[in-house]
Amino acid sequence: MPPTDTLPLVIDNQQSRWRNWHQTVDTPVGEWLTVWNADPNRSSLAGYQGTTQGLKDLIRRALTEDRSIRAHGGTWSFGPVAATDGILLNTQPLNYRFPIAGGDVHPTHAGGPLVFVQCGMSVADLNHYLDAKQLALPTCGASNGQTIAGAVSTGTHGAAFKIGAMQDFVRAIHLVPSPDESIWLEPASRRATNDDLAARVGARLETSDDLFKAALVSFGSFGLIHGLLLEVAPTFFLQIWRKEMPLDAAMWSAIANLDFSGLDLPGADGREPDHFQIVINPYDEQRRGVVTVMYRSPTRPPGSTAPSIGGRWSQGDSALEAIGLVTDLFPDLTGPLSKALEKIAQSKIENVCGRPGQVFRDTTTRGKAAGAGLGVRLDQVEKAIGIARARAVAIGAPALLAIRLVKQTDATLGFTRFGPATAVIDLDGAQSNRQKRFFSETFAALENEGVEYTFHWGKLNEVSPARMQRMYGAGRVQAWLDARRTVLPTPALRRAFANDFTDQAGLSA
């Protein structure tokens, strides 16, 4: 048992309702607690162990009182994926950070440097921390208010089609699934740390590919994620161009084949981009899109300019941030405003270059925005965009569409599951009834037209057991449920970490 003075401080926020960052969820909560490390200013193994014990104690209380218990991070998700009417833990102050010493690295680990961070560390803070050490996350989302555990658990991604989504650089998960033990979970086929590290952290070592892949994207329903071991990279530079391009046969063919050599991409100079994104205004009758490409480089290429700082959005921002900014004032935007937004937020960029932490910044934009995201096969992107565009125009939804390409994930329920890369189609816009209708009708139309897709876990979606089977196949869903049953062996534990969202998806059993 850790010393009493290392146990965390748990503060009752005295709130009966919980609301997320984007103001799309406002729901009753039984008890909303904020968890602080005993010493929030100094990362220590003893403090980390003490907080693990505190999390176990909270689980014990939830079980005793027959209540569910969930953790939230940056509350960045658009949907109620983290919500519970039981005990909700705010983990944002839990942001200890530990580099992994060479003696703790498994001899078979051939990848980049390893760092172990506590669940509540925000992606923006992580970028700053790593930047100071001349390191970087291999990839991250466009805006970085999420915590690392929240981002990983919902499959947050950028547009790095050679890297993958954020769960794809996690090498171990420290999970607290019961009052009695915690688990250090690593894939058996890809060990990262030596066996004794888990014991030093105070966890039981579990090496299993199946359990690890299932737990990676599990939206808080495998227990409380206390820490994550990340494989990071030596720092690098991203050289950025953005320009308007025709959405013609050559563009759709390039996406379908993941081969951009036939396109006149800005800044290419014989290179293949590392990031690829298109923002599309569905009301643009000229069928053009704003293409952002980024090229990775170990050093700053000569002639490039540094990213601007201090603005309300940066070059790394996606369409959503821009829309959220304006919809603070005008929540019911229509088509013509989408055109203006596209001009404002998607301005031309030429040879801007910065490290990841400079390009993908911690945005402060808040607004009644509503976004959905769909994972689609590369050869069905053109069809899916055509369907979404038609529904947006027919309904008059205040939306922009975006396409981002992400390398296929290993996570059992990772929504970037299509190979070799998944096209994530974002339907971003202002919160309104028309927007909701746009989402619902697009989901249904894609199914009717035979487009295979998955839902982004952190955005608005309409999950159901039938859709889960259609999106992932019965085998994958069962594998995830079996893994959850292994980690949470009793019905009481499975019930404690379930919520309405997992019930709706058929993932609580």
Binding site: N41, R42, S43, L45, Q92, P93, N95, F98, D104, R200
Partner: protein, 57 residues
């Protein structure tokens, strides 16, 4: 609000139609607002997972 000496990162002042009506009816003598704050996150120093005897910080 207990921020463990980390200070506030954000303060939001909200009003609504009901509050505005109260302000109107009381000719401005009462102007209710809802104030929400968000604690700043700590920035802890880096730690070590090595055993204490081998020099944890």
């Amino acid at each position: 609000m207990d921020c463990q000496k980390q200070g506030l990162q954000e303060v939001t002042v909200r009003s609504n139609v009901g509050y505005a009506l109260i302000t109107l009816i009381t000719l401005g003598f009462v102007a209710p607002k809802k104030i929400e704050g968000k604690c700043a996150r700590p920035t802890p120093t880096e730690g070590s997972l090595s055993p204490p005897s081998s020099g944890s910080r």
